[in-house]
């Protein structure tokens, strides 16, 4: 009877350990190979569409703020990022112009004349496409993997970025190299996690979705 109890205990211990080993990230064996495969996948990707679930974790307050929405991306530089719950907020980036609709308030910004928004545009586009780690002047990347995912951690090098971002983590699915999760860490310890369930690539997305009124 006692032996039976031990075998059940070992079985659960094995389950826990195997789950842990799958989740644990270790240093990537072939970062150059990953970069090459990723560049190829990016070249073939014309559009991306997905819903997203954003979780802002407030470390000191031990609270989480959940928001949800949908995003569309179309090559070269078109992005529609729309929050639908618990409020409505829309950002459209279209070849150098940023359009924001916050409830009834609409604003249009020429990114080329605005350094801060140009930076935001650059980071958003880089995160959605996942190629931000290629800019080694602005970020110091380090590469990791587990059984199902690749992970690239990036530490900002520019002092203005360091003030509000301590690290960006981008998770990729090993099969299709799509971004599955994005984490942005702040110096305070707070972080924002964005999950992209059910991403679809190369679907037909009309240009009207990115029109700036």
């Amino acid at each position: 009877m006692k032996r039976k109890h031990y075998s059940i205990l070992f079985f659960f211990l094995f389950l826990v350990l195997s789950a842990f080993s799958q989740g644990q990230f270790t240093e990537m064996k072939d970062p150059a190979g990953f970069k090459q495969k990723f560049a190829e996948a990016t070249r073939k990707t014309q559009t991306i569409e997905a819903s997203f679930i954003q979780e802002k974790s407030l470390s000191v307050l031990s609270e989480k703020i959940i928001t949800k929405g949908r995003f569309l991306f179309k090559k070269e530089k078109k992005l529609r990022w729309e929050y639908t719950e618990p409020f409505h907020y829309l950002i459209v980036l279209n070849n150098g112009t940023m359009f924001i609709q916050d409830e009834d308030k609409k604003s249009k910004i020429d990114i080329r004349n605005n350094k801060m928004f140009a930076e935001i545009n650059y980071i958003i586009m880089g995160c959605v496409q996942g190629n931000l780690f290629n800019d080694e002047k602005k970020f110091l990347p380090s590469f990791f993997e587990n059984r199902g995912s690749f992970l690239v951690k990036m530490k900002p090098l520019a002092s203005n970025l360091k003030e509000y971002l301590s690290e960006i983590r981008i998770f990729f699915d090993k099969n299709d190299l799509l971004v599955t999760r994005l984490e942005m860490y702040e110096p305070s310890g707070d972080y924002t996690r964005i999950d992209f369930p059910g991403e679809k690539i190369n679907t037909s997305i009309p240009d009207e979705k990115f029109l700036v009124p």
């Binding site: 954003q54 703020i65 618990p86 916050d102 604003s107 509000y164 305070s188 924002t192």
Partner: protein, 212 residues
Amino acid sequence: MRSSLFHKLLLILFLWIGLSPWIMGQPKGNVSGQGPYTTAIFDSLFEKALYKGSLDISKHHLSGLFYLKRFSGSSVRILFSNELGMNFFDLELKGDKFIVHSCFPSLDRASLLKLLENDFRLLLVPDTTVIRMKRGRSKDPEFLVFGVKTARGSFHYTYDKVSGKIRRIQTSRSVMGRTDLRVYGDMRLQPVKIHITNPAIRLHIRMTFLSN
């Protein structure tokens, strides 16, 4: 003689009635016992709330989420982040102290932070330092107006007669210019909408309640 004694007693009685608010430590003109010194705009039982909001200063527009949380009777945390989750500021009112846990570099100005401290104190922390209070005239019969002098400054409080809730607080004298704080909507613990304006530095804060 009797008449003179009667007049003296009457005089003492009138003086006593006139001076009693000061002798008893009660603010002058507070007829109903309800007044600005008893509550803040947010109820004392309020614990936490999430607001969608925006902060306009000069020609800059920031939008995002305000998260307010009370930790204990004397500590309230105010966090404002953009929609993508990056913090603009994380402030704490702890008793008389004002702690800036983090602040976006372009907002990190002593004058702006002082205004934010004062505004959020008016919203969240009852003022227990009333020195003088006088009932004023209200143009609208549905509201009561009080002129209040406290250790924090001089204010005009506007009350809803029916609900007894504060609807508006205006600073009457301030080096930083007048702040006008208005709240809308009846919820038990917190207002639905909050508008704060300070024309002197062109500051506008708008908040709309989302959830607790």
